[in-house]
C-alpha cells in the first residue's frame, strides 16, 4: 500500500488469513488501494483518535470491523466511533464470524451501519466483501 494513497477503508481484523482474503476481495473490485489494516482494537483507536481526545475522519470512507479482537474488542471500537461527533458519520460495517443474535442486537443498538456474517465459502466471501465495499464506497452517499 503506497503511503501517498489516501486511506479510505480501515480494516480491523486480527486474523491475517481473513485479512488477506479481504484484500483479495477488494483487489477483485479494484478497491484495495486505499486500505489500511490494523490487527486489534487498540491499534484501531490509535489510528482513529491520533490526538487521543477527539477523532479524525480524514479521508476515511468506511470501517470494516471484526467483533472479537485482542486488547479492545470491536464493540468498544464501534461505541467510540459512534459517540464521536466527527467519526460517527463514517459508515461502520461489522464483518464477523459471530451469528449470535445478541451480538447483532448490541451492534445495531450502538448505531452500526451494517452487520455481516463472514460467509464460509470463499466465492461467497469474495463477492460479499466486494459488494459491501462497492456499496459503501461507490453507491452510498455518505454524510461527509
Amino acid at each position: 500500500m503506497p503511503a501517498s494513497q489516501p486511506e479510505e477503508i480501515l480494516l480491523v481484523e486480527d486474523n491475517s488469513c481473513d485479512a488477506e482474503m479481504t484484500v483479495w476481495a477488494l483487489e477483485k473490485n479494484q478497491l484495495s488501494r486505499g486500505l489500511h489494516r490494523v490487527k486489534d482494537g487498540a491499534e484501531a483507536l490509535t489510528f482513529l483518535f491520533p490526538q487521543g481526545g477527539s477523532g479524525s475522519a480524514g479521508s476515511l470512507k468506511a470501517v470494516l470491523l471484526d467483533i472479537k479482537l485482542p486488547l479492545v474488542d470491536g464493540i468498544e471500537v464501534l461505541k467510540r466511533i459512534k459517540s464521536d461527533p466527527e467519526l460517527k458519520r463514517v459508515p461502520v460495517i461489522i464483518l464477523t464470524s459471530s451469528s449470535e443474535p445478541k451480538d447483532r442486537e448490541v451492534c445495531y443498538a450502538l448505531g452500526v451501519n451494517s452487520y455481516v456474517v463472514k460467509p464460509l465459502e470463499f466465492e461467497e466471501f469474495v463477492s460479499t466483501v466486494g459488494l459491501l465495499a462497492r456499496y459503501w464506497l461507490k453507491v452510498n452517499c455518505s454524510c461527509q
Binding site: 486474523n15 488469513c17 481473513d18 482474503m21 483479495w24 472479537k68 464477523t96 464470524s97 459471530s98 451469528s99 449470535e100 463472514k118 464460509l120 465459502e121 470463499f122 466465492e123 466471501f125
Partner: protein, 552 residues
C-alpha cells in the same frame, strides 16, 4: 289450724327443725292486742273476756299512752274507746293510721253511746275495722277479736314458713355453690395447662398446680405479682398490648410470650386470655409451646439452608450455562475462522495456481474443499443445537396437520425427482413452541425422506393418538430402518447408525428433536427393524397439564 300447717315443714328433717334460722321468729311470742279505755273497770272487763284467747293484752288508758305502746311493738288488733280524755278515739285512730307501721292494724271502736250514723261514719272514715256498742257483749267481742287474732296468727305462720323456705333455698344454693366451686377447683387443679387468673390491675390472683410443674413457681409465690414481671423483656410490649386489649374488648385473645421459670430461664407459652369485665378479672390458659417453637426455628433454619443450597445450585447451573454459552460463541467464531482460511486458500490455489497442479493434486484439493464444507455444516448444526437449548419456549396451540403439510411440501419440492407418498391424517393439535415444533417435524420427516431413498415409492405416515394426559404423534416410514438394539443411541449428538457415504448427515438432527421434546416436558422414542422401516414417536403434555419445560 295455722299451727298444724307448719308441722310438716317442721318435721321434715331434724336438721331443719333445729336450725337456728328457723327459730328466729320466737314461737312463744304471742299475738298482742292493744286495749285502750280510760276506765280501769272497762279494761278489766275486756281483759277478762279476751283472757282465754292466748294473746298478750296490753292496756292503755289514753290515746297518748296507746300511741306510746305502738312505738314499741306491733299489735294484731286495737280495741279503742271512742271517749277518751284528751285525744279522743277518732283522733287517736287517725294518728295510728298515719304511722306506716300501724296503717293496716285493724281497729275496733268501743262506744257507750247510742250509735249515731255520724259517729259510725266517722269511725269507718278513720279506718275502723269494726264498731262495738257498750255495754259490750262478751261473745261479740271475743268473736270479733279472735277473727283478727287468727288472721294475724295465720299471717305470722305464713311468714315463718316463707322464711324457712328461703333459708332452705339459701342452704341448697350454698351447697350447690360449694359443689360448683369444688368442681371448678378440681378442674383448676387437674388441668395440664397453666391457668392464671389476673386482675385488671395486671397482678396475678391465682395460679394452678401446673405453674409448679412447668415453671417451678408455687402458686403462692406468684400470687399478687405483676404478670408482666415474668414475661421476657422482648415480649413485654406485645403482651402488654394483649392485656390492654383484653381490658377493652370482650372476647378471647391469643398471644405468645417467653415466660420466666423459677430457675431464671424462659419457656415459650401460648396463652388464650378471656376478660370478665364485671369481675375485673382475666382468665388465661397457657400451654408450653417451646418444643413447637424450637421445631419451627429448626424448620426455618432448614428452609434457609435449603434455599441457600438451591440458590447455590442455581448459581452453579447459571455459571455452567454461561460457560456453555461462551463455549458455543467460541466455537462459532474460532472454528469458523480457520475453516474459512482453509477453504479460501485452497480455492485460491485451485483458481490461481491450477497450472502447477497435476490431476491428483486437483483431486486432493477437491477432497479438502468437500471436507471443509462438511465441517462447516457440523459447526452450524452444533450451534443450532446449543441455541435450541437456551431459547425461551413460546408456547401456543399449534395446528400440527397444517404444520406437517407445510413441512412435507417443502421436502417434496427439495426432492423433486422422488416419489414420496405422504399420508398425513387429522393430527391432534399440540401445545408448544411453533418454531421449535416445526424444526422437530422438519428433522423427523426429513429423516424419513432421507432413509427411504432406496425405495421406489417412499411411504411416510404421520398420525396421532390421545393418551392419558398426553398426545402421541408417530411418523412411520418404509425406509431402510435400523437395528433395534441401537434405538437408544439414535438420539445422542453425533450418533449415527449409517455411514455418511450411504446417508449424509451430521448426527445432530435427532439429538435436536429430543432436546426440543424434552424441553416441552414430553418424550421421544423410536422403533425399527433393519430393512423394513422405522417409526418415531414423540409425546407432549396435553394443554393445561404442561409442566414447565426444563432446559435440556
Amino acid at each position: 289450724m295455722a299451727r298444724k300447717s307448719i308441722d310438716p315443714v317442721k318435721g321434715r328433717t331434724k336438721a331443719q327443725a333445729s336450725s337456728p334460722a328457723a327459730s328466729r321468729i320466737p314461737r312463744d311470742s304471742r299475738i298482742s292486742v292493744l286495749l285502750v279505755d280510760d276506765r280501769a273497770e272497762d279494761l278489766m272487763v275486756l281483759e277478762a273476756i279476751l283472757g282465754d284467747l292466748d294473746v298478750q293484752l296490753v292496756k292503755a288508758s289514753s290515746g297518748e299512752e296507746a300511741l306510746r305502746c305502738l312505738l314499741d311493738r306491733d299489735f294484731s288488733a286495737i280495741l279503742l274507746d271512742v271517749h277518751l280524755p284528751g285525744m279522743n278515739g277518732f283522733e287517736t285512730a287517725e294518728m295510728i293510721r298515719k304511722r306506716e307501721r300501724s296503717r293496716a292494724t285493724p281497729i275496733i271502736f268501743l262506744t257507750a253511746e247510742e250509735s249515731s250514723p255520724g259517729s259510725l261514719q266517722h269511725a269507718y272514715a278513720v279506718g275502723a275495722a269494726d264498731f262495738i256498742m257498750k255495754p259490750i257483749s262478751a261473745e261479740a267481742i271475743r268473736s270479733k277479736v279472735s277473727v283478727f287474732v287468727e288472721l294475724a296468727r295465720t299471717m305470722r305462720e305464713v311468714r315463718i314458713q316463707a322464711e324457712q323456705l328461703r333459708r332452705m333455698e339459701d342452704r341448697q344454693h350454698r351447697q350447690l355453690l360449694a359443689q360448683v366451686t369444688e368442681q371448678r377447683n378440681r378442674i383448676f387443679a387437674l388441668s395440664p395447662d397453666l391457668i392464671c387468673i389476673a386482675g385488671f390491675d395486671g397482678n396475678i390472683r391465682e395460679g394452678n398446680p401446673p405453674w409448679e410443674e412447668t415453671l417451678g413457681w408455687t402458686p403462692a409465690r406468684v400470687t399478687g405479682r405483676p404478670f408482666l414481671e415474668f414475661v421476657h423483656p422482648d415480649d413485654r410490649p406485645s403482651t402488654g398490648e394483649a392485656l390492654a386489649r383484653l381490658k377493652k374488648e370482650p372476647g378471647a385473645i391469643s398471644f405468645e410470650n417467653r415466660f420466666q421459670r423459677a430457675g431464671g430461664d424462659y419457656v415459650w407459652l401460648a396463652w388464650t386470655g378471656t376478660p370478665y369485665p364485671s369481675e375485673r378479672l382475666i382468665y388465661a390458659v397457657a400451654r408450653d409451646v417451646s418444643e413447637a417453637k424450637r421445631a419451627a426455628v429448626e424448620a426455618l433454619r432448614l428452609n434457609v439452608e435449603l434455599e441457600r443450597r438451591v440458590s447455590e445450585r442455581t448459581a452453579q447451573l447459571e455459571s455452567a450455562n454461561k460457560e456453555l454459552e461462551s463455549f458455543s460463541y467460541s466455537v462459532s467464531h474460532d472454528l469458523r475462522a480457520p475453516l474459512r482460511a482453509i477453504e479460501g486458500f485452497t480455492r485460491r490455489l485451485v483458481d490461481r495456481h491450477a497450472a502447477g497442479l497435476d490431476a491428483e493434486g486437483r483431486r486432493l484439493t477437491e477432497v479438502v474443499l468437500t471436507n471443509t464444507r462438511r465441517m462447516a455444516q457440523l459447526i452450524d448444526d452444533l450451534l443450532a443445537f446449543s441455541r435450541m437449548g437456551r431459547a425461551e419456549l413460546n408456547r401456543s396451540r399449534v395446528d400440527m396437520t397444517t404444520l406437517a403439510r407445510a413441512v412435507s411440501d417443502e421436502l417434496r419440492s427439495a426432492n423433486a425427482g422422488r416419489k414420496i407418498d405422504f399420508r398425513i391424517g387429522d393430527l391432534a393439535p399440540a401445545w408448544g413452541d411453533k418454531a421449535l415444533l416445526r424444526q422437530v417435524l422438519t428433522n423427523l420427516l426429513g429423516n424419513a425422506v432421507k432413509y427411504t431413498r432406496p425405495r421406489e415409492t417412499a411411504v411416510i405416515e404421520f398420525s396421532s393418538r390421545q393418551e392419558k394426559g398426553e398426545t402421541v404423534w408417530t411418523i412411520r416410514d418404509n425406509g431402510v430402518g435400523f437395528e433395534e438394539a441401537f434405538a437408544s443411541k439414535l438420539f445422542g449428538v453425533f450418533q449415527r447408525l449409517h455411514s455418511s457415504e450411504e446417508f449424509e448427515g451430521t448426527g445432530v438432527g435427532l439429538a435436536l428433536v429430543q432436546r426440543v421434546i424434552l424441553r416441552h416436558g414430553g418424550r421421544v422414542w423410536a422403533e425399527g427393524r433393519m430393512g423394513t422401516g422405522a417409526a418415531f414417536h414423540f409425546s407432549l403434555p396435553t394443554e393445561g397439564q404442561g409442566h414447565a419445560g426444563k432446559p435440556a
